[in-house]
Amino acid sequence: MSATDQPGKDEFYESLLGDFLDESAQLLDRLNENLLKLDEWTQVSENLPEPRCHEDLLNDMFRAAHSLKGLSAMLGLQEINHLTHKVENVFDAARKGALRVTREVVNLLFEAVDRLAALIEALKEPNGEPVEYEGVLAKIHQVLKASGADRAQSTQADAERALAAIERGLQALDEPTHSPAEADAALGPVVPVGGQPPSGFAARLKAASPHPPAQGSRIEADFSKQGEQPAGTQAAPSGCLREQPVAATTGGAELSDPLAGIDDEAALPAKYIGIFIDEATETLDQLTELLLANERVGQKETVEQLMVLAHKWKGSAASVGLHRAAKLAHLMEDVLQGLLAQHALPNPWLTDTLLRTTDALRQFVETLRQGQPRTDHFGPVACELLAVQQAIPSQPSILPTPPEARKAEAQAQPSADPVCPLADSGTGNLSSFSCQVPPIVSPDWRQKVVAKLPEGARAIVGEVYFEKELPLVGLKGRLIYEKLCRLGEVCQCDPPPDRLEDAEQLEKFSFALLTEQPLALVENQLEIAGIRGKVLEIWPPQSSLGTPEGSAASLCGPASLAEQLGSAAQSSGSAEAAGASSSRRSAGVPPAGPSAEPPSGEATRPAETLRVDIERLDELMNLAGQLVLNKARFTRIGESLKGLLSARNPLQIFERISAALEAISQSSYREDKEPHKELQALRATVRRIHQEVVELGKELQVLPRARQAVYEFQEAVHQLDRVTDGLQQTVMQTRMVPIGPLFARFKRVVRDITRLNGKSARLVIIGEKTELDKRMIDELGDPLIHLVRNALDHGIEPPEVRESLGKPRQGTVTLEAFHRGNSIVIRVSDDGRGLDAEKILKKAMEKGLVSPADAEKMSRQEIYQLIWQPGLSTAEKVTEISGRGMGMDIVWAKISELNGSVEIDSTPGLGTTMTIKLPLTLAILPSLMIQIDGETFALPIEAVGEIVHLKGSDMYTIQGRWVARVRNTVISVVHLRDLFRWNQPSANQTGKSEQTTLVILGDTGRQIGLAVDGVLGEEDVVIKSISENYHNVPGLAGASILGDGRVALILDVSALVEMASGRHSASSC
């Protein structure tokens, strides 16, 4: 990362960067995923003569690269911007058919995406090593050059020249010396390109006004008027334009920028710039959103809105004197207006152009915000817009040309518009639209065909339109039929094949093809001279991504102006295919059939989301945890209060005392007529006591109320209990993300590894919706990679071996995730050869991990457990992928760190399954609370096998080591005081009990019995890191705070097992 890549590291930048990192990760995932599909495709299509890749796939990737490019440009990340630009070029060339997508290309793209990921990763660590990416850049450049895809660049130069000429015309228009009328007369039809009415520039004079809406509404009215005009009467600008390039070649170098000659006001009113920036950003956001929405659901209304927005932008920019930006917005507006007049909808490439324009404007606003407005990137975008605009079949003039003048022009150029088939009104029997290929398969044909299609079959339904009076049209039809037969089964066609050859007049050939081939491939095969156009639809229709996906329509016309302008839209294959006629994707035509109705009602509202810093969630989790602790204290207080008040009813006792006292005092009154003085005094005392007792009685009346209050208190605590549980769970849920994306990453891993080791394997993913704590997902990548690598390298056999064993050539690795109780289970399984117990044992003995004596007694499961030992690899030779014996102990360590466990299950010849069990979250640990030497400890419940109570007679010593017989297994007994080095005696040492309780920990084969004084029960504890304020302590997984506020240590079971075995091996030496 060079310093220049980070302009002003302020808060705004930081937040943008956060968004970028987030978004780019998703985009990279998408690219990777699609590349995998592309990779598959290259394998399938390797033998096809002229394969054309699935266009939607390429388009999707193009868009992903494009978005990434735009985002990186916004942040000024030049390196990423360069690379994405190149990648985008590759996709662009590929989707236009200029570049053949071979495996090499896919590999290069993979490499580029990896570099991109590295570059983006480097952003997180500004001081990290710089990422090298020039190599890939150069390679891409070479690939593009070799394929001739850089032709686009030369055509762009042509376009620039042509446009420059137009621009000069515009400048003339801008000259204040010309009256508007003069300008009209001079330029007439040229205007659509730069179609700015002189009044638009006069708006500059109104520049002080920061409120362009008034102006906007006026133009809106203009535009609606324009929209009403029938397309056929539109003036054709192209005749004039065609002459321009010749003139332009004599032009100077400055002509490469269509916006040259337009300058921003030197002194920008700072007061309004701020307003402009805010407004412009908002408008751009709306524009982008609409463009993206439009890509999904093409609607005329959206185009109108887009135009209004572009216009608004133009107005705001012009009003503050930013004429270059205003001009660019204006060009965009023109393109949109052209579309609208044509009743057309933006197709993907047009949308891309428009998106690029908004990106350029956004970039400009960003530079403006930083106080150094730059518009030098406008040139190429403007060229593109102009080119695109010319590619739109008919271009209405934005200039309010008087109708008569227009008519005159039209007459002056009788066959005015070679681009527009609509203008061709000479063919009487056709309506103005009929010569154009409809955008969809005619409903009649579709209905007829679909009714007869076999259930669940995928078919391509299509119609091919022939040119009028095409000689030997029947033969062409037959050729198409033959071609289709090679691609699949032609189940229906009209006319039927046997009548095709005789046909002399044929308008169209309709067919239904049962095939699994991609649409683009079929479309490609139908590139034949003499056909006017074709429509293809996949049946059943694909729901994803909407309009252009399922159907492809193309129309052919005579050499178009677009070609001369080197429109980016041009399809390369067509040039070779049909001499003068060129084919390109239709810009879209008005929705005709009922099927093309936009699914407006079905558009589902996306779930509203909010990005939150994970630190904040951690904090929230922490607070919720504290609340749980406090709640526990309340519960205890409630219990003790209840206990205090549950004594025998003191009121009854009081009643009895009171009665007795009264009896004494009254009886003495009656019986003693002449009482003694002492007795009198005593009686007085008793009376006083009685009075006091009565007073006390009143006090005691409080008791029932207190009891009632305690009862209510407990009710409230119960309520609190429910709320805190709910809170904790909700907070926990907010941290939960599906494991799908993590699993999806392994598709790439499988591909790369099988490439390297020559094996064949597929990845099956089950339960990708299973949700895990975000932190957990972050931590799981590493161990899973090791497991998957192992499965692919050691588990899955080479294809030949598999075949000889009667297994399918392709192995299967399954990644599975599901919830079980309070834990998450993740399984990595393969259908390979299984673990070789003998080999493991041999290796372990070589390494001195197992003594020969022990080896004989070990069960299969116990032997499997040895693979977790560091340095143990059964691979005969170290490969690039695995076998260094480092993997499995890393897996073990990582999973233990996450308080989880791993189980191995393997059947020789059938495969291996690794089952990882993890707690739901990292922050809360379901634990077994135990008491040892008067202290409370927490044990992750996940690791607890069982609890057994033993009498002294069940324990033995073997060579001084305590063991216990639990049912039929002998388990070594471990005392914590032997494992841990305490630096002080326990504060509350308790006496020894006769009975020993053992908590059996660890997995089969490595079990230990931890001797405890008592088991306190299960509790969900909040994990507190010890290293946060100290450092990690071996044997401890952390600390937790008990209900009474004391700190309890959480034991690290795998470390305990490790320590215990280490101690044993040490003592046995």
């Binding site: 630096n983 504060a987 071996p1034 004391r1046």
Partner: protein, 164 residues
């Protein structure tokens, strides 16, 4: 190396204190009186129940719960090799912030907060030997007594890397 950043950091803190003056919290340990910069001290709390921690040096008494944060407690007496002493009425835990970590240190008593001027600080005499030598930044001469200025950062520098 952490020790290298020590001096500039302290110097900066001193400068922030104003021209040549420094605020200290003084405490007692055995017969000696020590001072720590007030900026390092977060709070002073009473002794409570400490959960002992295994695999640690003897002077680490264990962990306590300080408002839901678990912090380690160091017995400064043991750290400096003084004989252990049962907690008294006066025993306190000084909670200090060092390198982003919160640590409690047990002292015999906390005396007072005082402001000194920098020229009252003298370098520690080279003759002073013993465990605590490297953790002293200087001696502060007060009217009738001597205050040992403790470099708390250095005291915990060793703790960062120690394991087991």
């Amino acid at each position: 190396m952490p020790t290298l950043v020590q001096e500039p950091v302290l110097a900066e803190a001193r400068q922030r204190e104003g021209a040549g003056s420094l605020q200290l919290v003084s405490f007692r340990l055995g017969q000696e009186e020590y001072g720590i910069e007030i900026t390092k001290v977060q709070e002073i709390i009473l002794m409570g129940e400490i959960t002992r921690l295994p695999q640690t040096p003897a002077y680490i008494k264990g962990l306590i719960n300080l408002r839901s944060t678990v912090i380690p407690i160091m017995d400064l007496r043991l750290r400096f090799g003084l004989p252990p002493q049962e907690p008294t009425e006066e025993t306190r835990i000084m909670v200090v912030n060092v390198r982003g970590k919160t640590i409690g240190i047990i002292v015999d008593a906390v005396s007072e907060v005082l402001r000194i001027s920098k020229d009252q600080i003298a370098p520690p005499p080279p003759t002073v030997a013993g465990l605590g030598r490297e953790y002293l930044t200087g001696l502060v001469k007060l009217e009738n007594r001597l205050l040992i200025l403790l470099d708390i950062e250095k005291l915990f520098a060793g703790e960062q890397s120690t394991t087991g």
